[in-house]
Amino acid sequence: MHAPIAAPPASAEKILNGAGAAAILAAGVGAFLLGVFAVAADKSAAIKSLMNFWKPTGALSGETTIAVVIWLLVWAILDARWRNRTVGLARIKTAALVLLALGLLLTFPPLGDLL
């Protein structure tokens, strides 16, 4: 009995990387903004009050809602611009991973307190 033969993947030239690049860069932006909003609301009473979209959850409701909305908007905009293009993925990947790492670090309260 023979194993099913997989269809060969189309060549890299035919498969544009723009949509993937848009997705990873937008996710990096979303992660970074989450960290920025967490620190900003912790540092400023005015921002904390502004982020208080739903009182029982407090500022967390606004921080996460705004970060998620901007992430999705950035994703949609980048996707519309890059969908049919091949972009320089190495730089975009580096930028996305740096933004992700910064977002991760900014959520750590002792680091946020140092800023």
């Binding site: 099913p4 060969p8 959850t57 967390l60 921080e63 309260p109």
Partner: protein, 188 residues
């Protein structure tokens, strides 16, 4: 054997969505690495693509359900302020933790970190699911894209792990209790 509705929601959030997500993460990492590695043999099939797509969508659903139930169902009970003059803080976990030096760190570090870092998981895994669905086995032809997706999935595992650890420890020190009591079994 009884359980309160708040405890039940905490179980659904942590042991249901959160723990399932953590379990799923290791599987996703293995599959993303194995199937789309340029050295993988045999190459992924269309059926493999469909399976991984459904798997990652289910993980994204788990991650969103975990953060949404955590932030909008359990967190309000956790952070509710006790009325002035109340001596027993058992129904107010945040205040209970902050009332003692030996437990205050579980809130000031644990909850403050957990409530934010957890949101990195749904963002990362939603992106991973979208890329896997869009590119399928062609992800093999884009090593930069594949390694970026893997990086995000690793961070989502870390984020879920931190959130899960602190969630368990906080609930151990100041459990979210209250609401109606559900009787699960009659004792002997």
């Amino acid at each position: 054997m009884e359980i309160t509705t708040r405890s039940l929601w905490t179980l659904i959030h942590g042991m249901g969505f959160g723990a399932l997500y953590l379990l799923g993460c290791s599987g996703a990492l293995v599959e993303l690495y194995r199937r789309y590695s340029t050295r993988s043999d045999p190459p992924a099939t269309a059926r493999d693509d469909r399976f991984l797509g459904v798997y990652l969508i289910a993980m994204a659903a788990m991650a969103w359900l975990a953060v949404l139930t955590g932030s909008y169902v359990i967190y309000p009970w956790y952070r509710a302020a006790p009325p002035a003059g109340l001596h027993s803080l058992g129904a107010f976990p945040r205040s209970l933790l902050l009332s003692q030096v030996s437990t205050s760190g579980w809130h000031s570090l644990g909850m403050e970190w957990k409530e934010h870092i957890a949101w990195l998981a749904p963002i990362s895994i939603t992106m991973a699911a979208a890329v896997a669905l869009q590119y399928g086995r062609n992800l093999r032809s884009h090593p930069q894209l594949r390694s970026a997706v893997l990086g995000f999935v690793w961070v989502s595992l870390l984020a879920a792990g931190v959130a899960g650890f602190f969630g368990a420890m906080i609930n151990k020190n100041a459990p979210v209790e209250g609401g109606n009591t559900i009787q699960l079994m009659h004792g002997e």
